[in-house]
Structure formats: structure tokens, C-alpha cells
């Protein structure tokens, strides 16, 4: 996030939520939004589904899955046409405004209303509301990013914030909500194929030299491969060993059958986790890890707040914290600069190596304060909840670089793109057709988390969210003879799953929604692994799908097939056999 969460409750006047089911996926951020509403702030929500957040909105823009760019470009169009932009901010702190102006010219409210079905007047009012606010905040999540044009969409949102001067001040900003407790931290710590810790590019010799000195080895200069490229790299014979810790890609990665097929071709799969996950069951070696309540360290949340995580109980049996396992393996491989006694020593090394971001964040301070937002370069520095203060950006010119974003559902013509300077384009990689006439979109429910490894083992949560549900609109349900509670089979070009129908107006016509919490009906067997050319993010949020009512007997048969496929009984077998040494 460019700004911090408490600012939403305190400072924001207009909140624009797009592609985020905030109330279910980030409930305590939603609480800040409600707090803002209670003191008079206004709420715009863009989402295909009637989520709890959409239900609370002053303006709900029911954008079809995949059509965020035309929506955002239309808001830009109205703001520019009505002169609601911040010309002083544009002049002093941005470059590329004219290119954006030209790119959004065609996205008139009439044109976008025709493309998306959103009423023209709602588009105009949303644009006015956002632009006229003293402080407006954009909040987005995977409903913006998980497309083959996710980067382009984020750039379009940044254009919106920049031309209205909604950056670098309290209550403003472009604010992605990170889905996992420490996805921010894993990025910050350099778990990316192109970045060393602190987002230092690996291809720059100066950056590598900084780490080579401390680590005592020569470092590789070639950018590594992204997660989404790994399955094909395995099948091409480039990757022979895969080491996975604290992830369950068989459930969480798109086009799961393709991933599974690739993993079968590995010479070595090591999985280090707290349970025998769907991925661990396929491994050659499984290493038992300590979980979050059993170890010390830090997490960094979505607003870059580094916070202390503390050990409360001992790990079961022989389970160890992940850092101890890597240290032990390093010693066996004859590397001796990873002999740490406590996570504090590791953090001290991070502070030493990346002082510009983390130098001022010490365990001692974290014991006194409720987290510190990086960058925090010195121990007397308060941290940085708001980035880009005073309109200073981390670009070579110090200005925000606006880029034109073009969209066509099928394909942006090459000659059109060529007429713009440095454009980004978006089009959907799979559109509904006769065989697969519906749009499938995916997400989470409030009761569960990701692949369900932890939450499905928490009884109170499993009781309220015991099974997979497929949301389908009443009009479609009636047409297909589906009643609430019937079994429904979803099929895409990549696979099939079956689950119970939830006939509801939460989803628009011709769209179905379900989650990736349940192996019994894992939606990622259906999703598309086409990726964004810049970020490598897959197009998980939209796929063409067939919807069919099936009998309970057919559903039972599919369930048995999945049970065998995911080796479900193996977990119980291993637990019964090897549960000695528990605390």
C-alpha cells in the first residue's frame, strides 16, 4: 500500500474499492471502511458480485469480470472531460498526461455502458465523487491483478490517483490488499527471481557486490524463473529439483492438473510444511515445520508494517522452524555463513545489508511499538506510513510516469497500440463460446483461508463453512433447471469439478463463482495459466466454463475420483503411523 490502513478510518473522504471482496477477505480493513462511512465518507465499489462491501456502497458499479480497464478509463475520461483533474499536481509531479488523455478519449460513458452494462449515470457520478474528494483512496486486490493484463490495470488505477493528486497525502493512495500474512515480507526479503532483499535488482553488479561481501560467495547474475513458468520449465527438462516450503501449489496454482503433471517429472520434490498437504503427498521428502505460534520472527503486513511474531508453544515432535532447516542444509553443503542462533541474528543481517529500508527497525523497537512501516533508515526514524509525500516519486525524473492503457476484449490492434507512446494493453485470453458459455470467477469465503490447510482443521470454522458452494444467478439456474442445493458440474478446457449450487443474485447472469478452499472441488483445476507479460501473474479471475446439473450419484462418483487423485487417505494414514513424540 502507498498509505496505511488507519488512514482509511481517519482521513479518507471517498473510498474506491475495486476487485476486492474486502469484508470477507480483509475484514478488519472493511471495518476501517465502515468507520469512515460512519463519519460521512462515501464508498464506490466496482465488483461483478454483490459482495457485502458492494451492498454498503453509495455507488456499486457491477463491472463484468475482466472489464476493469474500460471502467477505469471511463472514470479518467469523465474526469478529464469535466476538468475535475488536479492541474497543479499533474504539471509539477507527473509526466505523460497527454498520452493518457488521448488513450481514454474513446472510453465515453456511453461506450463503456454498452461494453459493461453499467448505467452511464453511475459511471459519471462515480468519476465526479472520486475526483471531487479532498482525499480519495483506491483499494484493490486480486480482482484487479489476476488477469493477463493485471499490470495494465494497476497502471490505469495509478493514472486515476495521479491526475487527481491523490498520492502522497493522508487518506489517499493506490492501496493493494495483500492476501497473505507475509506476502509483503517475502517480496521485501528477496524471494523474487529478479530481486535481492530490498528490491535490489540481481542484474546490477553493484547490488550483487553488496551481498557477495557479506555472504562470501559470487552470486548468480541471471534472473531466475517465475513460479508461473516452473511447470513448463520442468516439462522442458530445465528444472529437475523443486523445494517448496509453506506453500501448497497443487491447490493454489492455476491449471492444477498441468502443475501436477509437471511435478511428476521432477527428480526431486522436497516439501517442508506443517501438514501433509495436497502438494506434500506428491513429494519425495517431507520435512516437518514449526507453525506460526511456535517460532519467533517478524511479518510485514500489506501497509509495509514490520511486526514481531512471538513463540507461544513448542513445536510438536521433531518439527523445526524453517530457518533452522535451511541453516542445517547449508552446513551439509559446506556453506558456513548461515549459522544463526536466533531469528534476531538473521534480522540484524537484513538491517546491515538493506539499511535504507530496514536499518532503523530493531527487535528492541518492535517490542515497544506496534510495528514500524518501512522505509525506516535510522533508529530515530518514525517509519514511513505514507509513500511519495510531497509528490516525490521513485522514478529517474522523480515524477509519476503516466502510461496509456488500451483495452479490447479480443485483441488490441497492433497499429492502434503503435500510435501510442509506451502503451500497456489488455484483452481476455479466454472468452465464453458455445461449448463454454459462462464466465467463471474465483475467490475466498470469510470462513476459510486459501487452500484450507489450516482453517479446515479449525472446528468452529469448518462447521460454518463445511463445503464448497458454486454461486449461480437465479435466471441461469432456472434456465438450466438447477435448484438451490442441487449438484452442479463445472468444466473448462482444463478440468471438471462438482459442488453444491448456491442460487443467488450475488453473481450476475452468465457468471459463476467458487473458491479454492476445498480439494473436493478445487477451482484451480479449471483456471487458466495464461500470464501477465510483466508480472507473471496468471489469469485466475476469468475462464470460460460450462455449467451442468448432475445427479447425486454422479457427484458422488466425482468425489471419489478427487479423493483418490488428492491421496486424501494418505494424510490420516501418515498421522496414525507417525504421530509419536507429540507434545
Amino acid at each position: 500500500m502507498t498509505n496505511s490502513i488507519p488512514e482509511i478510518g481517519k482521513n479518507t473522504e471517498v473510498i474506491f474499492v475495486i476487485g476486492s471482496n474486502t469484508a470477507e477477505c480483509h475484514p478488519l480493513v472493511a471495518r476501517q471502511i465502515i468507520k469512515a462511512r460512519e463519519r460521512g465518507a462515501r464508498l464506490i465499489v466496482a465488483d461483478p458480485r454483490l459482495t457485502e462491501m458492494a451492498n454498503k456502497a453509495d455507488i456499486w458499479l457491477r463491472v463484468p469480470a475482466g472489464y476493469n480497464i474500460p471502467l477505469i478509463n471511463c472514470l479518467l475520461h469523465v474526469i478529464i472531460k469535466e476538468g475535475l483533474f488536479d492541474s497543479a499536481f499533474i504539471k509539477e509531479h507527473t509526466e505523460g498526461f497527454d498520452d493518457v488523455k488521448q488513450a481514454v478519449e474513446e472510453f465515453t460513458p456511453a461506450c463503456v455502458a454498452g461494453l459493461t452494462g453499467i448505467p452511464e449515470q453511475d459511471l459519471i457520478e462515480a468519476a465526479r465523487l472520486y475526483a471531487r474528494a479532498g482525499a480519495a483512496s483506491i483499494i484493490y486486490c486480486m480482482g484487479v491483478t489476476q488477469f493477463s493484463f493485471g499490470t495494465a490495470t494497476v497502471v490505469a488505477l495509478s493514472n486515476l490517483a495521479a491526475i487527481t493528486g491523490n498520492l502522497g497525502r493522508p487518506g489517499t493512495g493506490v492501496n493493494p490488499l495483500r492476501g497473505q500474512n507475509n506476502v509483503q515480507g517475502a517480496c521485501d526479503m528477496g524471494c523474487l527471481p529478479n530481486s535481492l532483499p530490498g528490491y535490489l535488482n540481481v542484474t546490477d553488479q553493484k547490488n550483487r557486490a553488496r551481498f557477495e561481501k557479506e555472504w562470501g560467495v559470487k552470486l548468480p547474475a541471471k534472473v531466475g524463473i517465475k513460479i508461473s513458468e516452473v511447470p513448463d520449465a520442468i516439462l522442458d527438462g530445465c528444472i529437475r529439483a523443486l523445494y517448496v516450503f509453506g506453500e501448497n501449489p497443487v491447490m493454489s496454482d492455476p491449471d492444477s492438473n498441468h502443475f501436477r503433471h509437471a511435478v511428476e517429472h521432477l527428480d526431486l520434490l522436497v516439501v517442508q510444511d506443517i501438514f501433509l498437504t495436497e502438494t506434500a503427498r506428491l513429494a519425495d521428502v517431507v520435512l516437518p515445520a514449526a507453525c506460526w505460534g511456535e517460532k519467533d520472527g517478524t511479518f510485514s503486513n500489506t501497509e509495509r508494517r514490520v511486526q514481531r511474531v512471538r513463540k507461544a508453544v513448542d513445536p510438536p515432535g521433531e518439527a523445526l522452524p524453517d530457518w533452522q532447516v535451511f541453516s542445517a542444509l547449508a552446513r551439509l553443503l559446506d556453506y558456513h555463513k548461515m549459522n544463526y542462533l536466533h531469528p534476531r541474528e538473521i534480522w540484524e543481517e537484513v538491517r546491515r545489508l538493506v539499511p535504507e529500508k530496514f536499518g532503523g527497525i530493531t527487535y528492541q523497537r518492535l517490542d515497544q511499538e506496534r510495528g514500524i512501516n518501512w522505509p525506516c533508515p535510522a533508529e530515530d526514524h518514525p517509519g514511513t506510513p505514507i509513500l511519495y509525500q510531497g509528490g516525490k516519486f521513485s522514478t529517474p525524473s522523480g515524477k509519476a510516469v503516466l502510461r496509456p492503457v488500451l483495452f479490447d476484449p479480443v485483441q488490441v490492434p497492433g497499429e492502434k497500440a503503435a500510435s501510442f507512446k509506451n502503451p500497456l494493453t489488455g484483452s481476455l485470453s479466454e472468452l465464453p463460446d458455445e461449448t463454454y458459455p459462462f464466465v467463471l470467477t474465483t475467490g475466498r469465503r470469510v470462513y476459510h483461508y486459501h487452500t484450507g490447510t489450516m482453517t479446515r482443521r479449525c472446528e468452529p470454522l469448518d462447521q460454518v463453512g463445511p463445503k464448497q458452494l458454486i454461486e449461480i444467478n437465479p435466471v441461469d439456474a432456472a434456465r438450466l433447471g438447477i435448484a438451490d442445493g442441487d449438484f452442479v458440474k463445472l468444466s473448462t478446457r482444463r478440468g471438471s469439478i462438482a459442488a453444491t449450487a448456491w442460487v443467488t443474485e450475488r453473481v450476475p447472469e452468465k457468471t459463476v463463482f467458487t473458491t479454492f478452499h476445498f480439494w473436493e472441488a478445487n477451482v484451480n483445476e479449471l483456471t487458466n495459466h495464461t500470464t501477465d507479460p510483466v508480472s507473471g501473474i496468471p489469469e485466475i479471475k476469468v475462464a470460460a466454463v460450462q455449467v451442468k446439473k448432475i445427479s447425486p450419484a454422479e457427484a458422488k462418483q466425482l468425489y471419489e475420483e478427487k479423493k483418490e487423485k488428492y491421496l486424501v487417505d494418505l494424510t490420516r494414514e501418515v498421522a496414525t503411523k507417525f504421530s509419536q513424540g507429540r507434545r
Binding site: N181, F211, S300, T302, V313, G581
Partner: protein
Amino acid sequence: MTEKESKRVLTVCPYCGTGCGLYLVVEKGRVVGIEPDGLHPVNEGELCVKGYYGYQHIDNTERLTSPLIKKDGKFVAVHWEEALDFVARQLAKIKQESGPDAIALFASARATNEENYVAQKFARAVIGTNNVDHCARL
């Protein structure tokens, strides 16, 4: 501290990226409940349903308690020494035969900063590859 004592340990919720502050309530060496942190600027003494009730996995009977190696298609419990020795030898062999870029590591958006730092250091400094990524994109 004796096993009988109870305590509250201030920490951070392990689920979404909001990072709510909470206390783990520990009795006799087991986590028996969760209380929100009233002083936390983000959650201000509130939690969601996962924050309040999502801790029972900690001592679930299906937790992994020893390293496992698959032998003839079946998992066999082994000591750490054997498991780590096996992994180290396999990694060294693959690196020697096909180079460091034949190895990839998926780090974890669920683990701590310190663990992720050590993991990427392991990939880069010990194995010698930048093939390290995590599920930021998923």
C-alpha cells in the same frame, strides 16, 4: 515457566495481509484461545472470525512430527539426519550434473521475514541460482 502456568503472548494473526495484533492464550503448553490486541492501530481490539477461531490447527493430530522419505511409494518416518543428508546429496548431485539453475525454490508468503531471507540466501549463496519465487501472484 512451568507447564501449569498460563500466559498471554502478543503476536500477529497468520491469515490475510491486514496484520491484526492478537494475544495467544496459552495454558499448560497449549494454545487455548485468542484475544484481540486493544492497542493495535489497525484492528483496534477487534478480530474477524478467522482471527478469533483459527488456531486449532496448532495442535491438530495430523501435524507432521517427523521427516518422511518416500520409499517404494510409501512414506517412511526417518530422523532429521537421514532426511537432510538425503536432500543435500540429491541437490548436490543435480547441481553437479545439470547446473544450479536446474533447482528451484518456492518460498513462503506464510513464513517469517527471517525464514524467507534465509531461504533466498540458501538458493542464491548455497545453490547458486535466482530460481526463487513465492505465491505473491496467487
